[in-house]
């Protein structure tokens, strides 16, 4: 029952991460995904209660640190201009840019959700089919749906994201999916591999934060499209 609830949480988090365009809610949904994964880990039949609790704590802590890193990075590198430092010409330019931006109908167009929506349908189809096609030695288990959802959701997030923080979220979903796959399919689950996968997620979050800092310092945006426009 608890495992089903954790899987439900995970599914909601992955769907929301794919559909939401802003990076701020993405961080919260990522944290929820980690909570769901921690719940799934804790409920594994091979894990004794104390081992299950340890895994839950480790996963939740990793999620907190990773989400914290992305949140601090996002907040640091998405600040507006320091208005008090601008002269009157700078302020005039800023007001003009704000007026122009107000007329641009960028957010929340229905067309923007077509690709993520279709992608999600494909992902959900894959989640329903893949565990049956490649069933493990014990048949299809709930944890099989977890790893397919996370891996396919991570790939979709990578494909459709334009924001560097959201790409980071996709990479972290992929790594989380690998962890669930390991739990589901490994003949004997080793805690060292699980711990190293947590370390890998921390390193990935750190790298994304570093990249965000450099990108914002150079182009004043976290939009990846801008990097390729101004590229070589």
């Amino acid at each position: 029952m608890l495992e089903s609830l954790a899987l439900g949480l995970l599914a909601v988090a992955v769907v929301a991460m794919v559909l939401v365009r802003d990076w701020r809610p993405t961080v919260a949904w990522l944290l929820l995904a980690f909570a769901g994964a921690a719940g799934v880990l804790q409920q594994q039949p091979w894990a004794a209660p104390e081992v299950g609790n340890l895994l839950f704590a480790a996963e939740a802590l990793t999620g907190l640190i990773v989400a914290g890193m992305l949140l601090i990075t996002g907040l640091t590198f998405s600040r507006d201009y320091n208005v008090e430092d601008l002269d009157e010409f700078g302020l005039m330019e800023l007001r003009r840019a704000a007026r122009r931006a107000a007329h641009l109908d960028v957010p929340h167009r229905a067309n923007d959700y077509v690709l993520p929506g279709v992608g999600l349908l494909v992902v959900l189809g894959g989640v329903a089919l893949l565990p049956r096609l490649y069933a493990g030695p014990n048949g299809v288990e709930l944890v099989d749906y977890t790893w397919t959802l996370l891996l396919l959701g991570g790939v979709l997030q990578l494909v459709i994201s334009q924001n560097l923080l959201k790409i980071g979220g996709g990479l972290l979903l992929l790594a989380l999916g690998l962890q669930m796959l390991y739990v589901a399919r490994s003949a004997a689950v080793g805690l060292v591999v699980l711990a190293l996968l947590d370390v890998a997620m921390l390193v990935l979050a750190l790298t994304i934060a570093f990249l965000c800092g450099l990108l914002y310092g150079r182009l004043r945006t976290l939009d990846v499209g801008e990097v390729y426009r101004q590229g070589p």
Partner: protein, 453 residues
């Protein structure tokens, strides 16, 4: 105990190198000494003597010892170049962490654990590639290339991980394909080479050394560590690896024909890596021996090319140069030419022996042998063009001054040389090694015969 030290020592010393990062020379010296100690430890480890460490089986085979040794020597060369040519302050610490990752991949006889370590190494490498000197303006192209590298590396490691796990309870063609695809992405084989040439073109010259000498060797080490379980018994895996390798030899060489100098070097390295993949795809002892020999000479050629290119591109205040590098900076030119000849396997440098072994290994596959030979001919044409563009053609003098340009820097009391003493010594050692391997190939073949068996 020595197994634990092999992994923990470089990681612990990376902490020390990080603590003294504000004094770059001290940090580099710390890292270099740590690497030398790692080499000594590697020499003292008992071969083929399994043990248990943290509940995991560990063993060092002769092949993984040799590959890790080559990786450690490459790390030393990279540390040397980071000491002489301006790089970020975290380079020594991160390079040592990568060496620790290499040691873990080499000794842990657990494919999934090794793949996880490689995933971590990818994140660290992305940090290393972006670690530029303070106050350096990072170009958007470099950021784009680093992001592409990070995504491709994670995807490659994920493919490998998924493939390895889907092989339970029984191997399937899909799982094998995923494993080899993961290898191809991690090694940067054609057509998954997309991240490396842009990185080489936009980043610091030493990045070519990091990619060719450390990262790709880490990928090769992973293949070698998994080889007994994956390649020897699986015909599909062998065929796929040979196919990707052959494609890389031809594709890399063809693309190098029309690329800029730095991209050409990276693409030639990709072609060479294709040869290594072809050799690893052979289930015979000769195939493995040729792969090991190719790895050793690949690292040697990479080191020569990186040091030569770095010397050639080094800005020296007070030097006004009007003709090409070949006449103005002969040591840089010699290093580049020796590196290219080693890469192409032309005597008297040390690349021809491994190619001879590879041709023996491929004697039963004339099509693959023909592809490799054609790729080498095209690579030779690309190398000729590279020598003309990079070494003979006069430099293009900028007509506008950059923001970093300072007239005061142009007024030194004496014109310094373009090659620091340490780099001269390193180049002489590398050139001697390449010539020695070319003139007396038994120096390489005798230890390889033992390792191959």
């Amino acid at each position: 105990m020595i197994f634990l030290l092999l992994v923990v020592w470089p990681i612990a010393m990376s902490g020390s190198a990080w603590l003294v990062r504000r004094t770059p020379l001290l940090a580099t010296l710390t890292a270099a000494i740590a690497t030398l100690v790692e080499l000594v430890l590697l020499g003292r480890v008992a071969l083929d003597d399994p043990a248990r460490l943290l509940g995991i089986n560990v063993v060092v085979t002769a092949t993984s010892q040799l590959t890790l040794g080559v990786l450690a020597v490459s790390v030393l060369v990279n540390l040397l170049s980071s000491a002489v040519f301006a790089q970020g302050e975290h380079v020594p610490a991160i390079t040592l962490l990568l060496l620790g990752c290499g040691a873990a991949v080499a000794i842990f006889a657990a494919p999934l654990l090794a793949t996880t370590v490689v995933l971590i190494a990818g994140g660290l490498a992305a940090l290393l590639l972006l670690d530029t000197p303070t106050f350096t303006l990072i170009s958007p192209a470099l950021l784009a290339a680093a992001l592409r590298f990070l995504v491709l590396w994670v995807v490659g490691a994920a493919l490998l991980f998924v493939g390895l796990l889907l092989q339970r309870p029984a191997a399937s063609p899909l799982a094998t394909t995923l494993v080899v695809l993961g290898w191809a992405v991690l090694l940067g084989l054609f057509p998954f080479h997309l991240a490396f040439p842009p990185l080489a073109a936009t980043a610091n010259v030493a990045v070519i050394g990091v990619i060719g000498g450390v990262l790709q060797l880490l990928g090769v080490l992973l293949v070698i560590a998994l080889r007994p379980t994956q390649l020897v018994a699986d015909a599909l895996a062998q065929q796929l690896l040979v196919a990707f390798g052959g494609l890389s030899v031809l594709g890399g060489a063809l693309l190098a024909l029309r690329a800029t100098p730095r991209r050409t070097i990276m693409l030639l390295l990709t072609a060479r890596l294709g040869l290594i993949a072809v050799a690893l795809g052979q289930p015979t002892e000769v195939g493995l021996r040729s792969a090991l020999a190719l790895i050793a000479t690949h690292a040697l050629a990479t080191a020569l090319l990186v040091l030569g290119l770095a010397l050639g591109e080094r800005r020296v205040a007070g030097r006004s140069e009007s003709v090409g590098i070949l006449r103005e900076r002969p040591l840089a030119a010699i290093a580049c030419i020796a590196g290219l000849l080693t890469l192409l396997g032309l005597p008297p440098f040390g690349g021809w022996g491994p190619l001879l072994l590879l041709s023996q290994a491929l004697s039963g596959s004339p099509v693959v042998l023909g592809c490799c030979a054609l790729g080498l001919v095209i690579a030779a044409l690309a190398a000729t063009r590279l020598i003309r563009d990079l070494l003979i053609r006069p430099p293009v003098v900028a007509t506008t001054r950059t923001l970093a340009f300072d007239d005061v820097q142009l007024l030194p009391a004496a014109i310094p040389g373009y090659a620091p003493g340490l780099v001269r010594i390193a180049l002489i050692v590398l050139l001697t090694a390449s010539l020695a391997l070319g003139l007396a190939p038994d120096l390489l073949f005798v230890p390889l015969n033992a390792a191959g068996r």
